[in-house]
């Protein structure tokens, strides 16, 4: 299939009277890992929210060449999984219920099989299946959030600040899993990260946002080399 998997054309988004995105355009190719970087308040999280329909947007968002719906439910049905900032686990429900909820939008019969696969990637979750999600540690909850997203059998994964509040070892494990999914299953990933070096290591391309606009874009390798870019936008 020609063309990118995900395409944003001139997307604007606002919170009430406050405009957070001023015409952002980006693409994510099939089986590509793309990072969105930038300082706090640059609009990274808003970009993901605009895609998943959590915030109102104008402009075009295309998935596989077709317009993507504007509601989160519609977006989920098209196999786009959004792992929001703060993980968004259902803390009162059990681990297993959380995972099953991930497959809510699916109507096929592979759900049980997929549950097994996900538990295979996150063995610690298998141990805690019957536990309330709220009793898990931060790292485990992030695994759970990721696992739930994967239960959708998604074509595209939207990851918002996965490293936030987690120990480096856990973060490494997480990104390792993401890379494997990308390489083995062809999962496309759009990841928002504060930790620029981490993101650039995982992604092939990156966009740097500033004040709601795309300031710089390009292959990760280039961005890493470019001292100016690193200093002004990425803080290192």
């Amino acid at each position: 299939m020609a063309g990118p998997l995900l395409e944003l054309r001139n997307v604007e988004a606002r919170y009430g009277p406050l405009v957070a995105l001023h015409g952002v355009s980006l693409t994510v190719g099939e089986a590509e890992v793309v990072a969105v970087l930038g300082a706090n308040g640059a609009g990274k999280t808003t970009t993901l929210r605009a895609i998943s329909g959590t915030v109102r947007r104008s402009g075009e968002v295309l998935l596989g060449g077709e317009t993507l719906g504007r509601t989160p439910e519609g977006v989920a049905r098209r196999r786009v999984a959004h792992v929001p900032e703060g993980r968004g686990t259902f803390v009162e429900l059990t681990v297993e219920e959380n995972l099953r909820l991930g497959a809510y939008a699916r109507r096929d019969r592979q759900v049980a099989a997929d549950l097994e696969r996900v538990l295979g990637w996150f063995p610690r979750l298998r141990e805690r299946l019957g536990q309330q999600a709220g009793t898990l540690s931060g790292g485990e909850q992030q695994m759970l959030a990721l696992g739930r997203a994967l239960m959708l059998s998604p074509r595209l994964l939207l990851l918002d600040e996965p490293s936030l509040g987690l120990a480096p070892l856990v973060v490494a494990e997480l990104f390792g899993i993401v890379r494997r999914l990308n390489e083995e299953d062809g999962l496309a990933v759009l990841v928002v990260e504060q930790n620029a070096s981490l993101a650039l290591a995982a992604a092939r391309r990156a966009y740097v946002l500033e004040a709601g606009r795309v300031a710089v874009e390009g292959p990760s390798a280039e961005l890493r080399e470019h001292a100016d870019v690193r200093r002004s936008y990425l803080g290192y």
């Binding site: 959590t54 989920a76 968004g88 009162e92 429900l93 909820l101 809510y104």
Partner: protein, 293 residues
Amino acid sequence: MADLAQQIVSGLASGGIYASLALALVLIYRATGVVNFAQGEMAMFTTFVAWTLMEHIAYWPAFALTLVLAFVGGALLELTVIRPVQSAPPLTVVIVTIGLLIGLNGLARRIWGNSPKTLESPFSTDPVRIGGVAFSIQDLGIIGVSLAIVALLWAFFRFTKLGLGLRAAAVNPAESRLVGIRVAWMLALGWGLAAVLGAVAGMMAAPPLGSFDQNLMQPILLYAFAAAVLGGIDSPLGAVVGGLLVGVMVNLVGTYVGFVGADLRLPVALAIILGVLLVRPSGLFGREAVSRV
């Protein structure tokens, strides 16, 4: 001793009714954060509907049909009246439910008039002897039906995908949308199920009274509130346990404490509400923190 046992069973029967209505209240409160003051009148209305149906068809089919109609009615009410004020301040929503309370009462009077009606009971009023003590079959039947509907609902929530979706939507609507749950429909579904519970409560409450009118559910609503508060206003288990406890307590206090008699039963319910709220606001099983600034 035999007398005590009878009073307890009789209290459990009333308690079953309170439990059903309390569960309806808790359901709606958990899903939408709203205290639905119209829950009693919704139940009253469906009881009248049942009365009309039972004039024409047999009891259990009429019962089932009433449940279906109650479900549809409850969902419709949420869609038309509650949905528009979803994001309004809580007091506005309370006023809307109060408006519903007034309107449903009025509508029931307009349709069925003010004269009392009698609702058929599926259970005979004969006594049955268990362990040498005579119990009313009707009491036992009411307990049975109440517990059955509660069990069915529990199974629905625990074992079905839709039930899981409803639970998720109740605790975390934003996240639920991300996994594809149509939260808006879940709200209507919740109101529909609550209406079904209310319908059961009404159909069980009417026959033992002999005759009933539009005021049927008003005291029961207060007992249901007491039950919900006692059990924890966000706990379904609490609603059921609370209902049974309130039923038994009110009956025992009313029977054995002469001062209270039949006149002060409602204040007993009030005393329960106030007592619980002052001593342990989250009730027996509730989790919600009552703010302490």
